[in-house]
């Protein structure tokens, strides 16, 4: 968890097995005045969600132990977190690559709500921020995308 700044509004949790990505996104989101928590081990996700109670989650799909889908399904089926917006952040293309296509198929098959959005790596920070804001309903906030 990065800092405990009470002035910062919404809480975002980053889940990715790559430490670099987690560090990158954490610093970027922190810069944009979000409270950030992160997990690289899928086993740590649920305990952290319950403790941190994020307003939004950035979730990778392909990870060891548990897939992104398993985490997604767990959250969407949990009444406490089913309303939490989740953005999928993946190096796989949404329409072409197998894991992403398979993710979509599984969502349909399990009658789960679609994610709040997809962000493909390398990350377009401006777009990511816009998506986050739109999901959190904070469109009037200033954007610091680092440029």
């Amino acid at each position: 968890m990065s800092g405990g700044d009470v002035l910062k509004k919404n809480k975002i949790m980053v889940v990715d097995d790559e430490q670099d990505i987690v560090d990158y996104l954490s610093i970027f989101l922190d810069d944009n005045d979000y409270q950030v928590a992160s997990a690289t081990d899928t086993d740590e996700v649920m305990p952290l969600v319950e403790k941190f109670k994020p307003d939004l989650m950035l979730l990778d799909i392909v990870m060891p132990k548990k897939t992104g889908f398993a985490i997604y399904k767990g959250l969407k089926e949990d009444p406490c977190f089913s309303d939490m917006p989740i953005l999928i952040v993946s190096a796989f293309s949404k329409t072409r690559d197998f894991p992403q296509v398979e993710f979509d198929r599984m969502i349909k098959e399990n009658n789960l709500p679609r994610p709040g959005g997809y962000v493909e790596k390398p990350i377009d920070r401006k777009r990511l921020l816009e998506l986050i804001k739109s999901q959190l309903g904070e469109n009037d906030r200033n954007v610091d995308n680092g440029h």
């Binding site: 790559e18 560090d23 990158y24 610093i27 392909v62 680092g146």
Partner: protein
């Protein structure tokens, strides 16, 4: 005698003749009383003078029903009568009795001479011949020149019904016309015997086949055949069997002709008797040219196959070999066949050849398609890997810039570390990718397949032990050497064992076991690596051979290992199979059919 005059001689002869002639003669009066009888009569019936003739001949007091002597007494006509009687010894005898009236000067008939000739033997013979005629188990009929059936035996009547004065074609065939190849016509024309096979209709309306021989029976004084005897045998069953055989033969002919396999058969003298259309197509010879040719079987078929046939025994097969066609072109074939024999009698040889060219072509195309697909997957995976690295680099740069903006040395350092680690990832990635993409031609040498697995076991057993994992082996003895790239196969098995160790490490099970098997089955060399680790779910299994797919976390795997394994196996003409359920472990199986292995020295495949 010399003293006798001619009259006396004549009387004496008459008297002797009367007494001694081998016919019983009696003179009876109109009361049927015997007034005189000759010696033969007495010898046969006893002394009967003064007694009635029926008493003498039949030992009966009643007049004979069939006796016609009464009529002769009235009309004076000579009559011949057939009578059966009993001789003085009580034996039954048949007689042919001639009745002659002795007419007095006044025209009255006081006496009749009865001459009874013994016909017992003739009757017996006649009866026997009639019986023989009637009971003969073939159809017999006698036909006159008008083709009217005048006599038939019982079997004939049972089959064709009572002729009742009908013509032979009406009886035999229920046809109003004379038969086309009527044997009787020929006999009437030529006087010589003649045989044909005919189809008739029996009394129940069923078709019946018979073999009929017609022969002249009675000829007139000028040699004209008056009647013909026809003897016919029922051959319906034979015709039925013939038809069945013909049907079978036709089917066989059709099957042989339309078979996709080339079929070559020789007789016991090693002469070609079957060379079907597919054989013509495969070898380029026409059946006309080779049928009957001796030694041709051995000439065109591979020695390794004809050699096998010499061992007799059951069917022989060579899964893959080559033959040369008429133009000298080598053609890959599968060949099977056997030595034909019946009850220890050698009948010949048969060979079936399957042209493998099309199959080979399809296999090659499949192999190319698989390789192309692998390239496609690689490119997709490459993009994914690069995107991850770019994200890492971009992240590093962002973090560094953020640090600089905030004059935060720690953040700058973090950014630099990220840049550094991702640049190192690029190097590692490029190295592995190159070894994958370079498409190194397998360096193939004859090597003992099991020994490769044994080496991998030696390499990993201590490392595994340290992780609390037991490796057990199951190696088959005596698997013959095979052309393989030892180093590449070693890498493949190592990859599988390394993966298995990772899968076990991730598992919570107390007893973690990896099994390495190496054996040969159906001419296929098989390596199996099983573990009881975490296993794989459907998603992972589906993508496990895709480039850059890794479950090992950020920096542990490039995701190229299994893809490299698959590529190596494919280059050896083999395939990788995976069997896994979540929490139940996984089994990877590398299968190398011997006939698809590359040739030693870098040539493409054993079979090409």
């Amino acid at each position: 005698m010399s003293t006798m005059d001619i009259k006396e001689v004549r009387e004496w002869v008459c008297s002797e003749l009367y007494e001694q002639m081998p016919v019983s003669v009696a003179v009876i009066d109109s009361d049927f009383k015997i007034v005189d009888a000759n010696n033969t009569f007495v010898q046969t019936f006893g002394e009967m003078k003064g007694r009635s003739c029926h008493e003498a001949i039949k030992r009966s007091r009643l007049y004979c029903e069939e006796c016609e002597a009464g009529k002769t007494f009235v009309d004076g006509k000579v009559r011949i009568n057939k009578v059966s009687g009993i001789d003085r010894f009580g034996n039954k005898i048949s007689y042919l009795i001639h009745l002659f009236p002795l007419v007095a000067e006044d025209g009255s008939i006081p006496y009749i001479i009865e001459m009874a000739a013994d016909s017992t033997l003739i009757d017996e013979l006649q009866e026997r011949y009639e019986l023989l005629f009637d009971k003969t188990p073939c159809y017999i009929c006698i036909i006159d020149r008008q083709f009217q059936v005048i006599q038939t035996n019982r079997k004939f009547r049972d089959t064709f019904g009572e002729p009742g004065g009908r013509y032979c074609h009406q009886v035999y065939k229920q046809s109003p016309n004379i038969c086309e190849e009527c044997p009787a016509v020929r006999v009437f024309q030529t006087g010589a015997e003649h045989s044909t096979r005919q189809r008739g209709v029996d009394v129940h309306g069923n078709t019946t086949y018979y073999m009929v021989t017609a022969a002249p029976l009675i000829k007139g004084p000028d040699g004209t055949v008056e009647t013909v005897m026809e003897i016919a045998f029922d051959v319906s069953r034979i015709v039925e069997l013939e038809e069945q055989i013909k049907e079978l033969f036709d089917i066989q002919e059709f099957v042989i002709a339309s078979s996709m396999d080339a079929l070559i058969v020789t007789d016991f003298k090693d002469r070609i008797i079957i060379f079907n259309r597919s054989a013509e197509k495969l070898f380029g010879y026409s059946a006309m040219d080779v049928i009957g040719k001796r030694g041709f079987f051995n000439e065109i078929l591979p020695g390794e196959f004809t050699g096998l046939l010499k061992d007799n025994g059951g069917p022989k097969q060579i899964r893959e070999t080559t033959i040369k066609n008429r133009d000298g072109e080598s053609i890959p074939v599968r060949i099977s066949g056997s030595c034909l024999s019946s009850e220890d009698k050698f009948l010949g040889h048969a060979a079936f050849l399957q042209d493998l060219r099309k199959i080979k072509q399809l296999e090659d195309e499949k192999l190319s398609a698989e390789r192309l697909a692998a390239v496609g997957q690689t490119v997709a995976g490459l993009a994914h890997g690069i995107k991850n690295i770019i994200t890492g680099l971009e992240g590093g740069l962002y973090v560094m810039k953020t640090g600089m903006r905030k004059s935060d040395v720690e953040t700058i350092g973090k950014g630099l570390t990220m840049l550094d680690s991702n640049i190192r990832r690029i190097s590692h990635f490029v190295r592995e990718f190159l070894s994958f993409a370079r498409g190194k031609v397998p360096e193939v040498d004859m090597t003992e397949p099991v020994s490769i697995a044994a080496e991998v076991f030696e390499l990993y057993k201590y490392a595994a032990q340290q992780e609390g994992i037991e490796i057990v082996t199951d190696f088959q003895d005596g698997v013959p050497p095979a052309p393989m790239d030892r180093e590449a196969i070693h890498t493949c098995i190592s990859n599988l064992v390394s993966n298995a160790i990772d899968a076990c490490q991730m598992s919570d099970k107390d007893s973690k076991v990896i099994t390495i098997r190496a054996y040969e089955e159906n001419e296929t060399i098989i390596y199996e690596v099983s573990d009881n680790g975490i296993g794989m779910d459907y998603d992972v299994k589906k993508k496990v051979f895709t480039s850059f797919f890794s479950t090992k976390g950020s920096h542990q795997g490039t995701g190229l290992g299994l893809l490299l394994t698959k590529k190596t196996v494919q280059e050896h003409g083999g395939q990788v199979r995976l069997d896994s359920e979540p929490e139940e472990g996984a089994t990877f199986r590398l299968e190398f059919p011997r006939n698809r292995l590359p040739k030693p020295g870098g040539e493409e495949h054993v079979d090409s």
